[in-house]
């Protein structure tokens, strides 16, 4: 407890950076992921190919390597801090998983929905936007929730590139106080403060949508 009191501002700063990184990566990966999911199901074969390559590349490389790639290689040409490179890597990595989740959701929507929408004079984009995607999101919500929780936890990758996040501050505090055990328990509790409400919110959302359907 004394450990928490003495280092509270540091923990809080780390918590703030973890939260910030998670929010940016979450919004970014949601947009990117949906984009690449659609790219994989449009009629044009070459666009499908690009979407597929993107997903396969980022889904099959460890997050740590992507992070180090941005931190050590890309930053030679474009200046970016550890926080930025970690968040960008996290965003790209998660977006590949979200693309797969959303794609599965879209495929699970009855093809009649798309055909019907097109027959009623909507363009492909309109049909996607107003008819198919809303249903797809509802179907994929449980696995999207998983991805979001993973994203928050994966943000601890920032610690490896000096991203000032919760894990980084935890490492610093553990190194200064030599009290590794208590420090990491406190860090874990801070992560729970982020992830538990998130998972309850997703559950709540699921129930709400089920009732609406």
């Amino acid at each position: 407890m004394a450990l928490l009191q003495n280092n509270f501002p540091t923990f809080l700063q780390g918590f703030g950076y973890t939260l910030l990184s998670s929010i940016i990566a979450l919004i970014g990966s949601m947009i990117l992921g949906t984009g690449f999911a659609i790219m994989q199901i449009v009629p044009q074969k070459w666009i499908q190919k690009i979407g597929n390559i993107y997903v396969q590349v980022f889904r099959n490389i460890p997050l740590l390597i992507i992070t180090f790639f941005f931190f050590l290689v890309v930053s030679k040409y474009i200046k970016m801090s550890g926080f930025t490179s970690g968040t960008v890597a996290l965003m790209l990595y998660t977006s590949a998983f979200i693309a797969e989740t959303v794609r599965a959701g879209i495929l699970a929507v009855n093809t009649g929905q798309m055909e019907g929408a097109r027959a009623n004079g909507l363009s492909f984009a309109q049909a996607m936007r107003y008819i198919v995607l809303p249903q797809a999101f509802r179907i994929s919500l449980p696995s999207l929730g998983n991805q979001f929780i993973n994203l928050v936890k994966n943000s601890s990758i920032l610690a490896f590139v000096g991203g000032l996040d919760l894990m980084y501050q935890g490492n610093m505090i553990a190194a200064n106080t030599f009290d590794t055990f208590s420090t990491y328990i406190i860090v874990a509790i801070f992560y729970l403060i982020l992830t538990l409400p998130l998972s309850y919110y997703i559950q709540h959302l699921e129930r709400k949508l089920k009732r609406a359907a």
């Binding site: 050590l72 930053s75 980084y168 610093m172 190194a175 030599f178 590794t180």
Partner: protein, 288 residues
Amino acid sequence: MEKAKKRQFGIIATIVLAAVIVLGLMWATATATKNEEHKDTLERVERLGRIVWGVKADTRLFGLMDTKTGISQGFDIDIARALTVQISKQTGVPMSAEFVPVSSSSKMQLLKNTNIDGSVSTMTITPEREKIIDFTDQYFDAGQSILVRKNSGIKNIRDMNSSKYTIIVVVGTTAATELAKFAPKAKMLAVQDYATGMQALKSGQGQAMSTDNAILYGFATENPEYHIAGNAFTHGPYGIAFDNNQGPMIKQTNRALKTIKENGIYNQLIKKWFSDVPGLDWHSLEVK
């Protein structure tokens, strides 16, 4: 009926899970306290006939993992070997030396958990650390310096006292705390190990890397476009570390250290590892 059954199952599962977590935590705390009041290290190594040394795996000249054999090599490792031989002679119990790679941030905890018996890992003797673990006499004299690009124009640590500079350090080293005294305005970037630190320096994440000069010499040898700027601005000799209150083990190790310093083995090892380092007066490291 179906619903009631489901609910029953849910309740049982929750209780079982909660019990597992509580028992697990109790077990962990019990083990932790047992490790606290930890047996005599000398007694343990004599009984098992081996000393497990924590050594560095990412530090050229002191402890660097040979990727072909998977064994660390360096001054620290040779010192640990020589000490093991000497301690065996002193106690009359034959002992072998085993090596476990440790990082700057993990070595203290590994000592506490008795995963390693002792640590010869470029560890600076500090009063804060001495409260938690025991140190032997110093086995190497070091001080903190900065490594910068040759054309950077930075001459010493005082030049870096400005918020436009970022200095790279490794988590768990004394460098981080010392920098706050010598260049309080400079930003600090802490990475996990020296190899990453050097890469980060090369890709421009910081303008300097700071740690003990002895370690930086290794990097300067490898990377000719970098050099050490200015003299060492701290004095922080290395010690061999054991868990707290290990009087008998400390005594044996100090005796062994004194012996290898007197019989010339120590100077041989200094020559073996430091005689090729450019810009280093290795004779100053020898014991006279």
